[in-house]
């Protein structure tokens, strides 16, 4: 059994993260310690804000759905947290090492005809540890195999990725996330165009991460799924609309406010923000 599937994620995260977390030992999965704080974050493309003055914190071990109308800035916020986009104003503060973040983009720009096997793709999840040159250790290989089994692809380790279905390939990407042993996992629309069975299985994987104390933030558009499977939700429409327990956050009032905000975005003569 791979270490990453049963071990304490704080122990499993890269070394520097461990040092920073040491001060707050013992860390239980239910600890309310913050992993990440958004301090009045604004992210703009060409001066137009797509994420506008959002503030708040994600607790360690929390499982939060990021919800909002199209163009609400969900993907943008995730990219900024992943370190792929600069924030225009405000700040994103981490208590964990930024290298302990794993990110699954909405559109994974991969060449599916590339001659790799399932195990090869999952092994790339160890990159932070082995880099470009080091050999994969026996434990690392074992954790890849265990990750493949836990996403329901046992026996397909040596299958070429070109022969997988869309759902199976998403399972492979989840297995790769798994071996990254990240303290914070960001998922952008992970269940888009994925069949129900796969979605249910992968949701189990996500719950497993939470049980291990990993923090998960997932952008989603299926409100029913969010209410059913996610304890917390962050509703945004460029600005923060509501953030808290999923059912309260996704109340009819809040959703109506989000829709109203979205309707105002088409105004071309935007003034300079005074906030």
């Amino acid at each position: 059994m791979g270490r990453g599937l049963v071990g304490n994620p704080v122990e499993a995260a890269p070394r520097r993260a461990v040092q920073q977390e040491d001060r707050r030992q013992p860390v239980s999965p239910l600890s309310q310690a913050e992993v990440l704080r958004l301090a009045d974050v604004t992210i703009a493309y060409d001066r137009h804000p797509v994420v506008h003055h959002i503030g708040g914190a994600f607790a360690q071990g929390s499982l939060t759905a990021l919800v909002g109308p199209n163009g609400a800035g969900k993907s943008t916020l995730l990219k900024a947290v992943a370190g792929l986009l600069p924030v225009t104003a405000g700040e994103i503060r981490f208590t964990i090492d930024r290298r302990a973040i794993a990110y699954l983009p909405q559109v994974v720009d991969v060449d599916r005809s590339f001659p790799l096997r399932v195990i090869d793709v999952v092994d790339f999840g160890h990159w932070r540890k082995i880099g470009a040159l080091r050999r994969l250790s026996r434990e690392e290989r074992a954790s890849s195999v265990a990750a493949i089994a836990s996403v329901g692809l046992a026996g397909l380790e040596h299958q070429p990725i070109g022969k997988l279905s869309v759902g199976q390939f998403q399972r492979v990407l989840f297995a790769r996330l798994m071996v990254q042993e990240a303290a914070l996992i960001l998922l952008d629309e992970p269940f888009n165009a994925i069949d129900q069975k796969t979605t249910a299985d992968l949701m189990d994987v996500v719950r497993g991460w939470r049980a291990q104390g990993r923090t998960v933030i997932a952008a989603l558009h299926d409100l029913e799924q969010v209410k059913r499977d996610f304890p917390d939700a962050l509703l945004m429409a460029r600005e923060l609309v509501a953030w808290g327990p999923a059912r309260q956050t996704l109340s009819d009032d809040n959703l109506a406010r989000a829709r109203a905000l979205a309707a105002s975005w088409s105004d071309p003569a935007a003034a300079i923000c005074a906030r």
């Binding site: 370190g83 792929l84 994974v108 991969v110 060449d111 001659p115 790799l116 793709v121 990159w127 470009a132």
Partner: protein, 290 residues
């Protein structure tokens, strides 16, 4: 033994045949893997473009120092690297894609190269640059090929994993802090280095054949990158041997004979390849239980 005479005798008898064989075998070792990565990165035509970009540099070397291997190689190396970097940079700061930017540069290069050679030389000199003189490989050309081949194999081993992930999922490589851009630049430099090294033996136009044809053929037999590289090297070596023997016995130009031998393997793989060959496609086999 007639077969022994047919295959071994030419190399025992003539030093220039031995040199040509050694040059081609050494080139095969590095051109094979380079070609495989060109195929995997969907940059097959990129290599072609780069081979043209060598020409003006080689021509400047030729104008300055005559048919000097070192001057022409250095000139070719510098100009081709410049074109590769410029095309990459232009694709980032203008709306042009890298292949379009490169196409613009290499057409200019080709025309300029032909113009420059004609200033001083004859069309025979131009033919030497484009198609090489495999049966007149000098000691220094052999050294250059050996050095280029060695550097290529070592450098490829160092950037191997990065290059594969950079081809497959560049976004992920960036997110985990890999140096994809650096690996790409090193790879382009290796492409240019191999073509410059092959210039005297096979010529800039023929050299690309020894890179692409065995690699494309290998792609049609296996889906493992490691096996693809091994197979590409093997096919390149067999083509070299076959091409030289055929050219010797049939009194044909040797560079084109080598490339045509590689072309034969390519066509054979197209027809019979076990991973996507045409026969597999059109021969119906009964379906399985599950």
């Amino acid at each position: 033994m007639p077969l022994y005479d047919f295959i071994v005798q030419p190399f025992l008898e003539f030093g220039f045949m031995r040199r040509a064989l050694v040059a081609c075998l050494a080139l095969s070792v590095s051109a094979g893997p380079i070609g495989v990565f060109l195929v995997l990165r969907r940059m097959s035509l990129m290599g072609d473009a780069m081979s043209h970009a060598i020409l003006p540099g080689a021509a400047i070397g030729f104008l300055v120092a005559g048919l000097s291997l070192w001057a022409m190689s250095l000139g070719g190396l510098i100009v081709a690297l410049f074109v590769a970097l410029a095309a990459g940079a232009m694709s980032r700061v203008t709306p042009l894609k890298e292949d379009a930017a490169l196409a613009g540069f290499f057409l200019i290069s080709l025309a300029m190269g032909v113009l420059l050679v004609s200033l001083k030389g004859s069309s025979v000199d131009l033919l030497h640059i484009l198609f090489g003189t495999l049966l007149a490989v000098s000691n220094s050309a052999l050294l250059l090929i050996a050095a280029a081949s060695t550097i290529t194999v070592i450098a490829l081993a160092l950037i191997y994993r990065t290059l594969i992930l950079e081809c497959f999922d560049p976004g992920f490589l960036r997110a985990v802090g890999g140096k994809g851009g650096l690996a790409h630049a090193i790879f382009l430099a290796l492409v240019v280095l191999n073509m410059v090294a092959a210039m005297q033996a096979l010529g800039t136009l023929m050299a690309i054949g020894l890179m692409m044809l065995p690699a494309t053929a290998a792609r049609l037999w296996t889906i493992s990158i490691g096996r693809m590289i091994g197979l590409a090297i093997l096919i390149a070596m067999l083509s070299s041997l076959a091409g030289l023997i055929i050219s010797y016995h049939a009194n044909l130009p040797s560079g084109p004979a080598v490339i045509l031998s590689a072309g034969f393997f390519y066509l054979l793989s197209l027809a019979a390849g076990s991973n996507g060959g045409l026969l597999r496609r059109y021969i119906r086999r009964p379906h399985l239980e599950h």
